[in-house]
Amino acid sequence: MGMASWPSEDDTVFEPKEKSVETRSFTELYDEYFDRINRYLRCRVSNMWDADDLTTVVFLKALEKFAQYNRRNSFAAWIFRIAQNTFIDFLRKKKEIPLDTGEWLTEDDDETWQPEKTLLNMEQIKLLHHQLGQLSQAQRDVLTLRYFGELKINQVAEVLGKTESSIKMISRRGLHKLQQLFEKEGKE
């Protein structure tokens, strides 16, 4: 028997089903996702210091578990699941009612605050806080992940462990309720 001939480029008999693999390093992913996680948590907890502490915890956990992350899955869903679990742990420990009527995102000592927009932003955020507070827990989870965490429906479903159809339904009902609240506010 002679030597085996060298395989040609054309004789592929199998192609992997899914080719999208997350190829970025942890630091690249951190740069991309920090803003989304920080903003999401700042919408969920009653003051920005807690939100910033939670953001720190999320990324420390993410670094610790990064070797376990399967790069064929969505990094957004993975990191937001960590954020969601961290937020739930925080609520349990603090026994805090999410989005209560306490101080929220005050401008004190916040170096990142833009002075020219502060007043308007504060009013808008207080209003948002008030309106989100009138939704159910599930509606808040879905709407904040979807519109403040900027996740897709399937990613929200993955984070919350629900089906896409139930996320769509919760989202639709939540938006409808928010819409009614805005209309009510407008009339007043």
């Binding site: 085996a4 060298w6 592929t12 942890f26 630091t27 951190y30 990324f59 992350y69 170096e111 209309e183």
Partner: protein, 206 residues
Amino acid sequence: MKQQSPEERQDLTVSKLLIHLREMRDVVPVNQKLKQDLKKKLMGQMMQVDQEKYIVQPNTVKKNKKLWFGMVTISLALLLLFFLVLRGDSSSNRKILPLKGMQPNEIAALSPDGKEFVLIRQHEVSLYNSQGRKLRSILIPGKGIITQILYSPTGNELGVLQQEEGMTTIWYTSLTTGGVQLFWEGSSSKVRGLRWSEHGKLVPLE
């Protein structure tokens, strides 16, 4: 003038609401100072973990010596066996070397049972049977140069060492599920190779 239907009015108010939510999102500030500080902290932790990985604990030295002695003996025996098999090729149908046209910059690894091999050719990793027929491509993330590829003792996994711009990345690939996981990444100067431990764990070699 045409009046809007209730559905059209509903669509309009929902789209206004979505625009409003987007505006709300944009006014929630992000703590940029925390972003910078935390990044430094995380990078510091990554470096610390790297260092700890390569520090041998004093109480494990004796155990490791025995382990190493055993492993070196087994490796030498296997090497000898491999050469004997190659020399007596008339009775072996697992011989795959030499292969025509293999370039010096291409890397190949033989599965433990000798029935398959992987080849890295122009950044593409492919799995072949012993007849030289390509079975499938193996997707390894990253754009670095693959400098080493190793079958696990079971033949079900691969360890891949990749280097790019001063960074070394080690990937772990399951040949059964096709899953790829990042095993380690860090400074290039730290890792010179890979091996599989007797417990089936990937071990970077300093």
